[in-house]
Point group: C2
Chain length 142, copies 2
């Protein structure tokens, strides 16, 4: 039997997921934003007339979980909720100025972290690394 039963690729993927995931970056993406909140806020900022459930869908949450995360963002002042004019059931979530700021801040923290890591990969160019990661992310969506 081999040294251990976990392959290098699995371990690498986990390492990356763990580092850049909910527990990485000191457990918080930026300021008082958790990772799911970051993703939710990004979804809100890039979706026009973003319904509460749209947020939940992008996270793989139930609609109940969606309500809760949106309310958390609202309490923090990063979004506000507006009733839709077309359909009074729908609640449109919109990002605030403060939300934009924290999103940009989280982004720069991610970027900085990434460059620190990329600098420690002498055998790979930054652009190649970026290309692979981007392609991978696209493959995940498609």
């Amino acid at each position: 039997m081999e040294q251990n039963s976990i392959s290098d690729i699995s371990r690498s993927l986990i390492e990356i997921a763990w580092h850049f995931g909910p527990k990485g970056l000191n457990g918080e993406c930026c300021e008082d934003l958790t990772m799911p909140e970051f993703i939710a806020l990004d979804k809100v900022s890039t979706t026009s007339n973003c319904a509460v459930q749209d947020v939940g869908y992008s996270l793989g949450f139930t609609k109940s979980g969606a309500t809760r995360i949106v309310n958390r963002l609202k309490k923090k002042g990063y979004v506000h909720k507006v009733k839709s004019h077309e359909d009074a059931r729908i609640c449109c979530v919109e990002i605030t100025e403060s939300g934009e700021r924290v999103l940009a801040s989280a982004n720069s923290r991610y970027l900085k972290q990434f460059h620190v890591i990329a600098a420690k990969m002498p055998e790979h160019s930054l652009t190649d690394t970026v290309k692979v990661l981007t392609a991978m992310a696209n493959a995940l969506k498609g």
Copy 2:
């Protein structure tokens, strides 16, 4: 101002972290194993005389959290705890047969997922992708 404030690299990293992270793979790594439990079990399997705190360290948990995750794995029958002979304070965590099995199973699930994704990246060879990810994981450790 640009379309949105989040860069592509950040978004890609998050996408990958989210997909292969705690919420990915249907919320569970394998069988009844959560992501942190998977990492903990891997740590146990690759560390001889693995103390409870060693597990905690690899996850960035406090020693209290380490105790809890080890106990959870124990309850599931994937590890057992043995008092160290050299130091009676230390509690060595050892993987069981059942633990080895579930670890291998989790690994194959990760591997399968990865190959599905890699197959959707026509412009990158599998080996190149693996190389970049491995280098990145190594950079994270160092």
